[in-house]
Amino acid sequence: MLLRVEDVAYGYGERIVGSGVSFDLAAGEVLCLLGPNGGGKTTLFKTMLGLLPARAGRIRLDGSDVSRLSRSGIARAMAAVPQAHAAYFPFTVREMVVMGRASRLGPFAAPGHADFSSAERALATLGIGHLAGAVYTEISGGERQLVLIARALAGEPRLLVMDEPTASLDFGNQARVLGQIRRLARAGIAVLFSTHDPGHALLCADRVIALHDGRLAACGPAAETVTPALLRQIYGVDVVVAAVPGIAAPICAPVID
């Protein structure tokens, strides 16, 4: 098993946000994390990435305890894709993406020809090779999100952790990112992503886990897990989940009175 989360409690400092969380993830699998605002999705991700210490339990990456791995050891296997953000300095897209190679370079080394080739390949994979020379601070939010995914891929990880990759994107870019997640999974990469839209879980995840009140409310295959009952429980609204002819996954919409 690539990633195994065993009975983990997580939080900032003294404050425990959630506990008793267990799940695992295999190569080529897409796992979606659902949960309300402030439900601790980002905190759980940071704990998994080793950026925050687990308050209890264990996170195993390829069998090794994450708390005993070096930063570069973690980053080589598990890459994080943050939400699209504004950088402080106007790096070019190429300079930004090649930073994904840091975990594979010695402390005093600068990226060489092979590293820039990896960066170009990652950009080509995402279909944004033409942006290589553009300035990261001057491209659109959707393009930035794709660049950050390319940066993660440049490090050749086996697991991608994406925190709300569709949050700030328009309709078309959301679909593009979800399609990209499926393609990465076909290439054997495991993807864990969080989202506010249960429809995205149905569209693109193999399995779904849902957080509610600091506990796992559900864990299972997407089609069986994303039910009106679960969505009512975690979001507090009535939801219709319905199959539509011509679409592989059921669609999901809130009931508004």
């Binding site: 930063r71 973690i74 402080y88 402390p107 600068a110 990226p111």
Partner: protein, 351 residues
């Protein structure tokens, strides 16, 4: 190799060629300005005489110029030129480093209180009537001590954002040290000590000797080494602590190493010449406008440009008027309008 990577490789080669010629051009400009700075002044020295003095001293050729000419070149001007090159480059490299570490283009090398600490040390030395060498030592230790206190406070407070904590601690400690400097100014003898204090706080290269430069050079090189060697990783540091760690950078090791390097460089510079403001803030900006934000190019560019800038400003300081203008005044007076012009006319990408 597919077409896209082939194109990219071609572009990289062309870029490298451009970069090499730009570096050669910068080196030539620096050399020419140095020669000019050795020749120009209250006592003009012709290029032929200058060549003879340097040939005599460096290559052992027979001397053909009068002794006063040799004294002017070797004892008066050469130390200033060397000091201007070293200090201008050092302060600019430290400024570029701090701006990346603190993800803020408005940060200067004294963000963590180096200048305030060094200032208090030097002012205390002047107040106690100490000779020059102990004043410089006090300034150096004051600078290092101030940053050590700020860093210690930052570690002790342990708030969520370590970078913001450091900046706030720097502001608070700087204010206390500034109060100490003001107090000593009030207590100081207004006829001898106060002018000396004011002059020191505005920075000058006029009394620098080759011995001074030799004394601080090892510390400068020690401080610059990690900045130069780790410069690509500074790109990652400028993305913020959490993102850098997620990308595989041990920020808990890298940040103190870079801060220690930049602090050592700044404290060594300030202890020799007093507080020369603005240069560490403005030169990295100009360098960024010229070569972009990638520290692989930005750091060497800041070093070179800083050396050039301080040499030029010092040349103006000692030739423009009948009395010598303190450097701190000129770096701002020359730098700020130039900076504003760049901001308006340049590509507008500052940060």
């Amino acid at each position: 190799m597919n077409r896209e990577t082939a194109v990219a490789a071609g572009a990289t080669r062309t870029n490298r060629r451009i970069r090499v010629s730009a570096a050669l051009l910068a080196g030539a400009a620096l050399l020419m300005l140095s020669v000019l700075a050795l020749a120009v002044g209250k006592y003009p020295v012709s290029l032929a005489d200058l060549a003879n003095v340097l040939g005599h001293r460096l290559l052992g050729l027979p001397a053909r110029v009068p002794a006063p000419v040799e004294t002017v070149v070797m004892q008066v001007r050469l130390p200033r030129v060397v000091a201007a090159l070293v200090i201008g480059g050092a302060l600019s490299a430290a400024g570029a480093t701090y701006q990346g570490l603190f993800r803020n283009p408005l940060v200067s090398p004294d963000i963590l209180g180096v200048s305030a600490g060094a200032g208090l040390g030097a002012v205390l030395g002047i107040y106690l009537g100490l000779p020059v060498a102990p004043i410089q030592a006090l300034a150096f230790l004051g600078g290092l001590g101030a940053v050590a206190i700020v860093y210690g406070v930052g570690l002790a407070v342990r708030r969520h954002d370590p970078v913001l904590t450091l900046v706030l601690a720097g502001v608070a400690v700087g204010a206390v040290l500034g109060a100490g400097i003001s107090l000593l100014k009030v207590l100081a003898d207004p006829y001898n000590q106060l002018p000396a204090i004011t002059f020191w706080l505005l920075g000058s290269l006029s009394s620098v000797t080759l011995g001074d430069v030799g004394a601080v050079l090892p510390m400068m090189l020690l401080g610059l080494a990690p900045l130069v060697l780790l410069r690509w990783r500074m790109n990652l540091m400028s993305l913020g602590d959490e993102e850098a760690r997620a990308l595989g950078v041990e920020t808990r090791i890298l940040r103190p190493v870079l801060i220690a390097g930049a602090t050592l460089v700044t404290a060594a510079a300030v202890s020799m010449t007093g507080v020369i403001g603005w240069i560490g803030l403005i030169v990295p900006h100009i360098a960024r406008l010229l070569v972009g934000p990638d520290y692989r190019r930005l750091l060497p560019a800041s070093l070179t440009l800083g050396a050039f800038y301080l040499l030029a400003v010092d040349l103006i300081a000692r030739t423009a008027g009948t009395i010598e203008v303190p450097l701190g005044i000129l770096t701002a007076l020359v730098g700020a309008p130039f900076f504003l012009w760049l901001l308006a006319a340049g590509r507008g990408r500052v940060g």
